[in-house]
Symmetry: C2
């Protein structure tokens, strides 16, 4: 069944990615509040120090460390408390030998002081005198000016996807607007003479559009903007026109359905046809050593990926994760050498066979049993959407493996 001529998913992705330029992506300037999970388009250089002044990390007494050297319970050092620092204000005095200023956590260190003695290590002798019961080292209990972020240093680099704490860091140095890459827009074209909108009454022989709903969610969750183009009949001229329209107004085009059966060559022919007039490699691969997802088509027209997805719901999700997600990331400027997939480690609940030369993506649900996590294969044809509804994730059996054994440890790639 699986022709050796079919590409592996990894080779297929490589062919696609090498055909898409990673420059020239549109950039937009936004307020940082709008930039959560967006990809930064230019390195951010700190315009100021964070903190802008040295701060105490405890409640205590700002003083000169060497005045406390040798101090202990039995032979305390005596220090004059001549000042008190108030939160959010600048100290307009200087600490001299034998002096201290009362300081709250986060307070600004006064001139001259180089350490803070914690409140609990001091004992009041009089209104303006304390005993230091311990010694402190220079710098102790102090965050130095610029210790968090140094002015002029690179804080975040181009291609980084901004997490909540990254936005916090930008706020901390007063960077309230940044340039981010525009989210790639992804057209979804549903094809099939039998497909009707989810809201339509069903006539005999018809089925509702499922895949455009699944795809729109996956695209949105992974940093793209889904653009549903609608449902189109399996007709060469009709499909060609909507693909051409979609190339004009989006960064990637997905054609759902129409890659197997009677129409299997039509989508590929149309992609080659459009590539002849607009440029690009046309069809880069057609058919993969992959299950589910074998009839997948990948093409390039005018530097844009045009993907023909199988009609089976499970194949749609597998192909999304293997191809569409990495291409959304490429088209959205995302760069990371740490793009770890989040997984759960579990033990296979039963044996699963796989054909040699084929990468198998097994839907599983994860179940806690006797203190262990089990990955239980979800049975059912890949045409059934409920196999995905029941599943928590996917276990991959690589091409060179003939299956998985019950009890074998596997990584579940969670949905």
């Amino acid at each position: 069944m699986f022709d050796k001529a079919y590409l592996s998913p990894a080779e297929a992705l490589q062919r696609l990615l090498s055909s898409i330029p990673d420059t020239g992506i549109t950039v937009e300037r936004l307020r940082i509040e709008e930039c959560y999970n967006r990809v930064i388009a230019a390195d951010v250089i700190a315009p100021e120090d964070l903190p802008a002044f040295s701060r105490s990390t405890v409640d205590g007494y700002a003083l000169i460390a060497r005045d406390t050297f040798g101090a202990k319970d039995t032979s305390p050092a005596y220090i004059n408390v001549r000042h008190e620092i108030m939160m959010g204000t600048s100290a307009d005095f200087e600490i001299k030998t034998g002096e201290a200023a009362k300081i709250p956590t986060g307070g600004m260190m006064p001139e001259g002081a180089d350490a803070v003695l914690m409140l609990e290590h001091a004992q009041a002798v009089s209104d303006d005198m304390i005993e230091a019961m311990r010694s402190v080292a220079p710098g102790e209990n102090v965050i130095q000016k610029g210790e968090d972020i140094q002015k002029g240093k690179t804080v975040l680099t181009r291609g980084h996807k901004l997490r909540s704490q990254d936005i916090g860091a930008l706020a901390g140095i007063g960077v309230t607007e940044i340039e981010v890459f525009k989210k790639p827009s992804v057209s979804i074209i549903s094809t099939g003479d039998e497909i009707v909108p989810a809201s339509s009454p069903l006539k005999s022989g018809q089925v509702r559009d499922i895949n455009s709903f699944t795809l729109a969610g996956l695209i949105g969750d992974n940093g793209g903007v889904p653009v549903k183009k609608g449902i189109f009949k399996d007709d060469y001229g009709t499909i060609k026109k909507i693909i051409e329209d979609s190339i004009k107004d989006s960064d990637m085009v997905l054609i759902s359905g129409g890659t197997s059966a009677g129409t299997k060559d039509m989508t590929a022919d149309i992609i080659n046809d459009i590539a002849r007039s607009q440029g690009g490699a046309g069809v880069v691969f057609h058919g993969l050593s992959l299950k589910p997802g074998k009839p997948m088509i990948g093409g390039i027209v005018n530097n844009k990926p045009i993907m023909g997805l199988p009609g089976h719901p499970a194949a749609v999700v597998v192909c999304f994760n293997l191809f569409i997600k990495p291409m959304i990331e490429r088209l959205g400027g995302f760069k990371s050498n740490k793009n770890f997939i989040k997984t759960v480690t579990a033990k296979m609940a039963k044996n699963i066979a796989s054909a040699a030369g084929r990468e198998d993506h097994i839907r599983v649900y994860v179940e806690a049993k006797d203190g262990e996590l089990l990955a239980v294969p979800v049975l059912g044809k890949s045409g059934l959407i409920t196999t995905l509804v029941k599943a928590d994730g996917i276990v991959i059996i690589p091409q060179n493996k003939l299956g998985l054994e019950a009890g074998e440890e596997v990584m579940v790639r969670m949905f």
Copy 2:
């Protein structure tokens, strides 16, 4: 340093959750396109079968299985091809013994037929006659009516968070509007005499608001609606008033800053003060055996959680994951016995010590080295936002453990 009287994070969360009712959550009715990652508020019962008719899963010939029994290359069965099924249309004829209809993948099975012979296992003898070179079993190559989803069966249950494929399944059975729980709104109150907005010019002794930006992102990513209330001075009346206002118009209130140092008792006093007039347990815990995050306050007023968060950026993220996230889920109706945290397994790159009786949350970055993943602790005080920017996730050292050794396998909870 760590008083035995302090609660563990797990006990503290339990106290909070047991004080919040999980009924009476507001419900809204939305189109399914708007329901990605929302929590479903009522079980969905399938109003129709999916598929609504039995379909072929291959290109081939719909026929009566027993007509092929015993067929092989050397002694094929002869079948009359009297009809052709078109996609999306109903067959208005019946297959009788010895007859077949040509059928495409996804085509509707005609009356009388119970299996499909694949195209590649048939050989045309004449215009209306094929040789079946193999036998097929009843049901072979057919998805039965209702095999994916059966009319009247529960498809999704109340409390489930809707993934892309779940929305696809709803579309498949024509359910285009559903009831979901309203997203909980979470007020963020920033306090501190030294805190100024991110966009303000800095005066000496002042620092910009970082935590409200980090919190807003985390709240949004985890199913809540952040409501930034602004920055307020450390003054009893001022803070009391803004907390009271926030209780009126949101489901949870976070007070960032003001839980340690000079103001440490003020937030707790205000929560108890408001609880006396509005009802509720008031402060449920103040101080935890947790690092970072020790000064955390948890309270309940009028069935709503009121949380005092430490000011340190790293403590904010740790406390968010331990307390705020589970409470957003509770207030948003989310129920799951499979709430697996997504992790990466790695080896500790160096020894890390931890005090007995304290749960330590260590920030780490993950690095691939010699084919292994290493979890490298990010050094630096928990007051530094850049420790979070450098980190990929958190490794937890439980209360009863005295540290981690280099080479020890750990689960990194990825940000």
